[in-house]
Structure formats: C-alpha cells, structure tokens
C-alpha cells in the first residue's frame, strides 16, 4: 500500500459572523495516499474550498473555530502554531487557486514571484533560485522560459498564468498539491492542457493531488476517488467508478442529470434540482438535501450517517432510501430524458 500522506478526521470549520454561525464544513473525513488524486465535487457554498484552505491553514482567524484532526504524516495541522504552519505550507502542501489573474501580483515579474516563494522556504541564493524557476517553468510547459521568466503577469495568457501558478505551487516540491477549481476560469482547450499537466506532474513529483471542481467531466478524467459535498458535508464518497456508475445519493444523480452532455442524445428538457442550496447558517433539519430531494420521505427528518450501504466496501453515502429502489429509479434523473420527478 502506498504511503498515507494525509488523514482528515471529522473536520469541522465554523465561522462566527454577525448573522450567526456559518457551518462551512460540518464533519468531513478522508485519507489521501501518495500518487492518488482525490476529487472533491460540489456547488458553491458546499464547503469544498473552505476544506482546502483549512488544510493549508488559510482559514485561521479570530472568528474561525476548528474541530477534528488534519493529520499530515502524523502531525495535526490544526494544532501547530502559525509559524510552524508556514514551513508546511509550500514545502509539504502546495496550492493552486481558481483565478490565475488575481492570484499573481501584477506589478512583479513572474520570475520574481516564484523566486521569492523558493527563497522563503529554502536557504539558497538568488541565482540558484532563478535557474530553478526557469527549470520549473519549462516543466509546466512555458515556451522560452529563459525570457518569459522576466515577463509580467499581464503578458501571460490565462492558461500560461495558471501554468505559472502551478510552477509556483510545485517550487518547493510539496507532497500534496491542492488544486482549487484550477480550470474553471479557462477555456476547454486550455482546461484539457492543464488537466493533463497536473496528471503528469503528479507522477514527476511523486505527489498526491486534491482536485476541487464543480465539473463532473473534469473529475471523470483525473480523480481516483471522489467526494461529493453538499452543505458542508460529504454526502457520497467512493471510487470514481462507484460514484459515476452506481451513485447512491439523489443529489449526485441530480448533478449528473443537470449537465448537458455531449455523449448522450439531447434530452427535451434537462433535469433540474429544484430550489437552491440551503444557507449554512440555518441548515434544514435531518438530511440537508431533503428540501430539494424528490424522493424524500418521513425518515429523512433524521440525518442519515455517512455509511456503507452497498456491496462495494469503500462506497459511502448519506441516504435512507432502499438501495434497490435507488438503482431502479435513478436512471430517470440521470439521463433526464423523461418527464422529471415532481
């Protein structure tokens, strides 16, 4: 078995705000092994970015409360000081953000920004750092890195900026790369390039990847294991095959059914998930998806635990519905061609 790098146990993140307590992440657990890609899918407000930022120690603040454990090679990242966290950030965990334009400083040259990151973590001189930067830029596929290293961010296209961000995240050889919606702001052709790049670099750098996205298509490409999040919780978790071919959570069906797909005949109408995600301050009672779930029944007033209810051992879900009922009814939602369930 590959080395286990990260173990998150029942992580809860709450923020105190003027309007009340926001339960941004409410009890999520997962493990990550070297060489694996964990995909986290969910809509805005499902807690996927807060999870990622918490792993990086970026949500620490006076109004934030944490519970649970984030064990990186045995060290609990929630317990260590801000100063110690700095040595983990970059060296052990690297992060790529969604928007490559706002995550680079527009008044510094690309090279300077990466050199700064390297020098912050390692005691090497500027020349060495610069040559390593050029090498990194070459690895992420920037043409003529010797000259482009002195460009400003505005001289790079969106795809190249994201490549530069990846180079920066990898500059200190982290074991875990966290990619928070890295392709959302990019065109499909560039998106395909970036996904391929992340996949290749994962092997080159022998690291693990947490890939956060709302795009199930991208996840199908890159992930080994998938976590589906809703209202701060994991509602379904399993291998890629489990989640795509035997989805157990009506929310997952809804997600699969809502996307207009190129590989299927065009449906008359798309399936929709009625309503919108709940406020994280006032969560509904019982199953959090109940108010939007077409199959909800009285038992759903109690919240189901994240349990294994099917044959495949690692496949967990939060749904009370009978497995056979789900298997015979879900296709209608997923392929979306028939009249949708009321």
């Amino acid at each position: 078995m590959a080395e286990r790098l990260l173990e998150v146990k029942d992580l809860k993140v709450r923020f105190a705000t003027e309007d009340g307590i926001v339960r941004a992440v409410d009890g999520i657990s997962f493990e990550l092994e070297r060489g694996k890609v964990l995909g986290i899918v969910g809509e805005s407000g499902s807690g996927k970015s807060v999870t990622a930022m918490t792993l990086m120690g970026l949500t620490r603040g006076v109004n934030a409360r944490f519970e649970g454990e984030v064990l990186y090679k045995g060290t609990d990242l929630l317990k260590i000081s801000d100063r110690d966290m700095q040595s983990f950030r970059g060296n052990e965990l690297g992060m790529i953000f969604q928007d490559p334009m706002t995550s680079l400083n527009p008044v510094y040259r690309i090279g300077e920004q990466i050199v700064e990151a390297i020098q912050a973590h390692e005691n090497i001189d500027k020349r060495q750092a610069r040559s390593r930067t050029i090498e990194l830029l070459r690895q992420v596929g920037i043409p003529n890195p010797e000259t482009r290293v002195d460009d400003f961010p505005h001289q790079f296209s969106g795809g190249m900026r994201q490549r530069a961000m990846i180079a920066m995240a990898l500059s200190c050889n982290p074991s875990i790369l966290i990619a928070d919606e890295p392709t959302t702001a990019l065109d499909v052709t560039i998106q395909a390039q970036i996904v391929e790049l992340v996949n290749r670099l994962k092997d080159d750098f022998d690291s693990a990847v947490i890939f956060i996205t709302h795009d199930l298509g991208v996840i199908a490409d890159i992930a080994d294991e998938i976590i589906v999040m809703y209202a701060g919780r994991v509602v379904e978790r399993g291998s890629k095959r489990d989640v795509f071919y035997d989805p157990q959570m009506p929310y997952t069906w809804g997600l699969l059914g809502s996307i207009p797909r190129l590989d299927r005949p065009r449906p008359e109408r798309l399936h929709t998930i009625e309503g919108s995600p709940p406020s994280l301050i006032n969560l509904p009672e019982g199953c959090k998806f109940r108010p939007r779930c077409p199959h909800a029944f009285d038992k759903c007033m109690q919240e189901p635990g994240l349990e294994n209810r099917v044959e495949s051992p690692g496949h967990l879900d939060r749904c009370w519905l009978d497995v056979d009922f789900k298997r015979s009814n879900r296709d209608r939602t997923i392929s979306g061609s028939s009249v949708e369930a009321a």
Binding site: G217, R261, P277
Partner: protein, 379 residues
C-alpha cells in the same frame, strides 16, 4: 457571392441578417494617441438568424463572440458591414431612430452581479425599460413587472427588494425579466449561465426554453460551453479569432464536424463518464489563441492545426456550403467525402493558383491591411 450570402438570401424569414460585419478596436499610443494598430475583434462575419430559432455562438475567450453579440444589437458601432433587422438596415441609424428598434432586441448579460444596479430595487430595474419607452401608465407598468417576475420564476413580492438580497440564479432571473419587459423579438444572451452552479444552470436553461415557446423569442446564445450550446441551439456558429469558421445545424456539428478546430474543441470537452473519457481520443491543442492584433496569415487556425499544410499558411479558406446548411472554412475538410468536395467546387478554389485570383482578393483585402479599413465613425 459567397455561400453564406446565398444561403441567407434564399431565406425569406430571416429576422436578423448580418453581412460582412467588422469590428476593429483601435490601439492608440503616444502623446498624440495615434492609431498604431487594430484589434480585429470581429472580422468579416456574415450570418442570418431566422425567426424563432436559437443560434448558438461558441468559441474560446477572445474569439470575438461577445463583441459580435454586442455589435449586432448596436451596443457597439460596427466598423464596417451591414446589420439588417426585420428588413431595415440598422448599422447607421442614429440614437433616436434606433430607439424603437431597441424594444425588439434585448440583451442578457453574463455576470448577474455586475449587470444589475445595486442601488435600484428590482421593480425599478425591470420597469425602467418600460418607462424609457413610455409604455402604459405607472400602474400598468407595475402590474406588468409583477407578471414578468412570475413568468421568470420570482414572485411579485420581490418588487421592493434590492439585488443583493438574491442569489446568483435569482439575479440572472431578474436580468432575464428586464430583457423581457419590452416583449422583444430577439434576445442576445451573452454567457447567461456560465456564472451559475450546475443545478441552477439547468433551471435557467429550461426557463429560457419555456420563454422561447411562450413568447416566440429568437435567441442568439453566446457561450463557451459546448454542452450547453448544443442543448439550446438549433444552429451553431463556431468562431475563431474574429471569424466564423463553421456554421451548422446543431446535431450535425457534433456528429460531423468539418473544421479541425471544431473537432478539437469537441474532443476537449470533458465527458462525465470515466470509461468513455478513457477510451476517447483527445486532441490537445497546443498553445493559445494568437493575438487578434496580428492574426496569422491564411487560415487563422493553421498554427495550431494538426492538418495544416502550405495552402493553409497562404490562403484564407472561404466559408463553403457542404450541403444541409453546413458551412465551414477549411482547406482540409473532415468528414466530407470526395464527391461532396468536388460538388461544392472547393477543389479548384483550394489550389493556390486558382485561389490567388478568386479567394485571395475578396477575403483578405480588408483584413490584411487594417490601416485602410474604413473606420468612419468617431468615438
């Protein structure tokens, strides 16, 4: 006469016709702000939109699809070309003469956060178009707003709320309500769903579909998501660097792309099915879209095209009709048998010698020398 003109000329019920429209943005430099170059945002584009249909416009960012959408409704002044709406050329109309036509064409914008004035109430946002066009009394207007809000899935009680009280999806509904307020014939929707979550996106697509049926709307639907565009469109135009490179009935485009760029775009769309995703051949396009300030010579796609040959570097391929309303601009058309190629007469045009005389002067004279491009209107 190009194939495009023929196909649109034969089509009597065209609501909107766009002929050879160009939109260049000047780049000014120095103290005198002299024009040193132009961004060729839209470069000689022609198409027609029939009444009641949805025309999808797809392409990567920077291909000019938004500029084209805005030019067509005269939010931007075209540099050259004709825009004919319901038989009236509108490219030169002044503000006053344009105003009655504005009632017929409305826009829905991409960003539901930036396109609503945060200091106005929903009622004001939706009724403003009616006020500007003096439609009915204040009470009528208020009643209409209530009706429209209900049509788009909001409630009349939302009249006095501010935009910030709504979620992204609801705001987009307000944007749609505003566009509907004047009962337009044509709605140009510029990426109306790309800022929304998937579950909300599908609600919005279904809503747009219902509205089209209920109000006999014609849509120009601009998006970069090929799945979304296929779902809503009757016909699809693929744009690359300011040009339409392929125009086809929706299903046909996905089954039988002719232009290699379309093929690559389609293959880059991720498919939410792990087994299929693995089996599928992926054409990963190298590099980025070139700069529209100095577009590549010949076929604009040639630097990234895997089929490119010398012809592609020198001669710009004309948009050719391959039958069934499927047009494409390519020297090396895919999915087309030899007979069709001969039939449409591409073969001769594609030899450099013949093209020197026919294709070259017509198609590139304007674009190859931006300095002489007519830019008559002052801004």
């Amino acid at each position: 006469m190009t194939a495009l003109e023929q196909s649109s000329a034969s089509n009597e019920s065209a609501l909107l016709e766009v002929r050879h429209v160009k939109k260049y943005f000047p780049i000014r430099k120095g103290i005198l702000q002299r024009e040193v170059a132009h961004v060729h945002a839209v470069d000689d584009v022609s198409f027609a939109v029939r009444e009641g249909e949805t025309l999808g416009l797809v392409g990567e960012s920077g291909c000019g699809k938004s500029t084209l959408g805005r030019t067509v409704v005269r939010l931007l002044e075209p540099t050259d070309g004709e825009i004919i709406f319901q038989g009236t050329p509108i490219q030169n109309l002044g503000t006053r003469r344009l105003r009655p036509l504005r009632r017929e064409m409305q826009m829905v914008f991409q960003d539901p956060y930036a396109s609503l004035n945060p200091r106005k109430r929903v009622g004001t946002i939706v009724s403003d178009p009616m006020r500007i066009h003096n439609l009915g009394s204040r009470n009528d207007q208020k009643r209409r707003v209530g009706e429209i809000l209900e049509t788009v899935g909001l409630s009349p009680e939302h009249y006095n709320r501010f935009p910030h009280e709504f979620s992204g999806g609801q705001r987009q509904r307000i944007g749609i309500a505003r566009a509907l307020a004047l009962r337009p014939k044509l709605i140009v929707a510029d990426e109306p769903v790309s800022a929304l979550d998937v579950s909300i996106q599908s609600q919005m697509l279904n809503l747009l579909d219902d509205l089209q049926n209920d109000f006999q709307l014609t849509y120009i639907f601009i998006a970069h998501d090929l799945g979304v565009v296929r779902h809503v469109s009757d016909r699809i135009a693929v744009m690359y660097l300011g040009k339409i490179v392929e125009l086809s009935p929706a299903e046909e485009l996905y089954k039988r792309p002719i232009m290699p760029y379309t093929e690559a775009l389609l293959s880059a769309v991720p498919i939410p099915d792990p087994d299929l995703a693995e089996k599928r051949e992926r054409i990963v396009l190298e590099g980025d879209v070139p700069s529209p300030i100095n577009p590549p010579s010949g076929c604009r796609f040639h630097p990234r095209c895997r089929y490119a040959t010398d012809v592609c570097r020198q001669i710009e391929p004309p948009l050719v009709d391959y039958g069934n309303g499927h047009l494409a601009a390519c020297h090396h058309p895919l999915n087309v048998d030899q007979a069709t190629v001969q039939h449409v007469g591409v073969a001769e045009e594609h030899t450099p010698a013949a093209a020197d005389e026919s294709a070259l002067p017509q198609d590139t004279s304007g674009s190859s020398n931006p300095a002489v491009a007519p830019d008559t209107r002052s801004r």
